[in-house]
C-alpha cells in the first residue's frame, strides 16, 4: 500500500496525486495531516523502554504510525523552511521511533536499531517551496537506512507525475 501523508494545507497536491494514481489503478491512502494534531517528539524514550512500541504523546499521530507499519511506501508532502522540509514534515519522521526497538545491531558497517515489525517501508518526499535538494536527497537516503528500506527520492510539487511513477 502507498501511504501519502500531506503535512501542507495544499489539498491540490494530494488531489493531483490521487487523480494520477487512480488513472494507474494503484492502491493508496491519503492522510491530510494539517487537520490533525501532531506534536513534536520529545525524546522521552518511553517507546523503547517503558511502553515498548507505544508513543507517550497521545495525539493523532498514532493512526499514522499504525498505517506506516503496514505501508510499502511512505510519502510525506511537506512545506519547506530553512533550506529543508519544515518542522511539520520533520515531525512525521521524528515520531516514527516506536517502529524501532531499543535493541541494536550492525547492518553493514553501521549500528542500527532492530526493527519492531517485519515489513519495510520505503520513503519519499514531495516538497512545496524551496529546499537544498541535493541535501534533502542525502537525508532521505539516510532515513531509509534507519527503516531498513530504500529512498524513493525527493520531488518538487511540479514533479508529481515523476513521483507518482515511483509509487507502487
Amino acid at each position: 500500500m502507498i501511504l501519502i501523508v500531506n503535512t501542507t494545507e495544499d489539498r491540490g497536491i494530494t488531489g493531483t496525486l490521487a487523480a494520477l494514481l487512480d488513472s494507474q489503478n494503484k492502491e493508496y491512502e491519503v492522510i491530510e495531516a494539517s487537520s490533525l494534531e501532531i506534536k513534536p517528539c520529545i525524546g522521552c524514550n518511553f517507546c523503547w523502554l517503558k511502553t515498548p512500541g507505544v508513543c507517550s504523546i497521545k495525539d493523532d499521530y498514532e493512526q499514522i504510525l499504525k498505517k506506516i507499519i503496514k505501508a510499502d511506501q511512505l510519502w510525506v508532502i511537506s512545506d519547506t523552511a530553512l533550506g529543508f522540509i519544515d518542522h511539520k514534515g520533520k515531525n512525521i519522521f521524528d515520531r516514527i521511533l516506536p517502529i524501532a526497538t531499543m535493541y541494536l545491531r550492525f547492518v553493514g558497517d553501521q549500528m542500527r536499531h532492530v526493527p519492531r515489525y517485519d515489513g519495510q517501508t520505503d520513503v519519499g518526499i514531495i516538497y512545496k517551496g524551496t529546499l537544498e535538494r541535493e541535501y534533502a536527497q542525502r537525508w532521505t537516503e539516510r532515513c531509509a537506512l534507519n527503516f531498513d528500506s530504500k529512498s524513493l527520492g525527493v520531488y518538487g510539487e511540479d514533479e508529481l507525475k515523476e513521483a507518482a511513477a515511483c509509487m507502487s
Partner: protein
C-alpha cells in the same frame, strides 16, 4: 568571549543529555575566561527570550541531539520563527547522538552548514560526537566519564571561538568501527546491552518485552 548557548533538545532539561554535555563544556568555557548564558528550546516559555538573545548575540552555540539524521522537529519549529542575522554573528554547534560512530552524525552536520547560511551567521564549526545515549541513566563518576571530555572542548572553544582545531576533529572518534570491533560490539548488543536495557525498563515499571508489537 560571551556565548549564547541554546540547548536544542526537545527533552526537558532535567533528563536532557545535551544539557549535561553543556554543563561540562561550560566548565571549560569558564576556565578559558569566557562566560555564557543558556536557554532551553524544550521550554516554549523561553522562546521569546531566546529569539531576543539570538538577535543580539555575537557568539551563538546551539547544542543539538540528532533526531532522525537531522535537527529535532521542535528545534526546527523554533528556528523557523527566528529572524536571520546579517552576517554579524558567529555560530557553532555541538551535535551529539546515541549511535557511537562519527558517520552517523555527518548528514546532520552537513545540514548545520545550510542552516548557518539560512540564519545569516558565520559558521564556526560543529563538534561531532555520538555514544551519548546513556548519559541520562548515569550519575556521578559514571556520567562524568561520558560528559567529562567535553570540558576540554569548552576550553579550546573559549580560546579559539571555533571548532576548527585538530583536537576537536579527533573528538568524534572512529568514523566506523573496524570489522573485528563490530563483531565484539555486536556480541555485547546481544548480551550485556540487552540485559542493561531490560534493567532500565524494569526501573521504569515496564511490564512488556522491549520487542513487543502493540499494533
Amino acid at each position: 568571549m560571551h556565548v549564547l548557548i541554546i540547548n536544542g533538545s526537545p527533552r526537558i532539561k532535567a533528563h536532557s543529555n545535551t544539557d549535561k554535555i553543556i554543563d561540562k563544556f561550560g566548565e571549560g568555557l569558564k576556565e578559558a575566561g569566557s562566560t555564557y548564558v543558556q536557554y532551553e528550546v524544550s521550554d516554549r516559555k523561553q522562546w521569546d527570550a531566546i529569539r531576543d538573545a539570538f538577535a543580539k548575540a555575537e557568539n551563538i552555540l546551539i547544542a543539538i541531539p540528532l533526531y532522525v539524521e537531522n535537527i529535532p522537529g521542535l528545534l526546527l519549529e523554533f528556528l523557523e520563527t527566528v529572524p536571520a542575522r546579517k552576517g554579524d554573528a558567529n555560530i557553532a554547534f555541538i551535535l551529539q547522538g546515541g549511535f557511537a560512530e562519527g558517520i552517523q552524525l555527518r548528514c546532520g552536520e552537513e545540514y548545520l552548514k545550510i542552516l548557518t547560511k539560512q540564519l545569516g551567521c558565520n559558521y564556526k564549526g560543529t563538534l561531532v560526537k555520538g555514544d551519548n545515549f546513556s548519559i541520562r541513566f548515569f550519575e556521578g563518576k559514571q556520567r562524568d566519564k561520558v560528559t567529562g571530555p567535553y570540558k576540554n572542548m569548552g576550553v579550546i572553544f573559549g580560546k579559539n571561538g571555533d571548532f576548527n582545531a585538530e583536537e576537536c576533529r579527533k573528538f568524534t572518534g572512529p568514523e566506523i568501527f573496524p570489522a573485528p570491533t563490530r563483531l565484539l560490539i555486536g556480541t555485547i548488543f546481544k548480551t550485556v546491552a540487552k540485559k542493561g536495557f531490560a534493567q532500565i525498563a524494569k526501573g521504569w515499571d515496564c511490564t512488556t518485552p522491549l520487542d513487543f508489537r502493540p499494533y
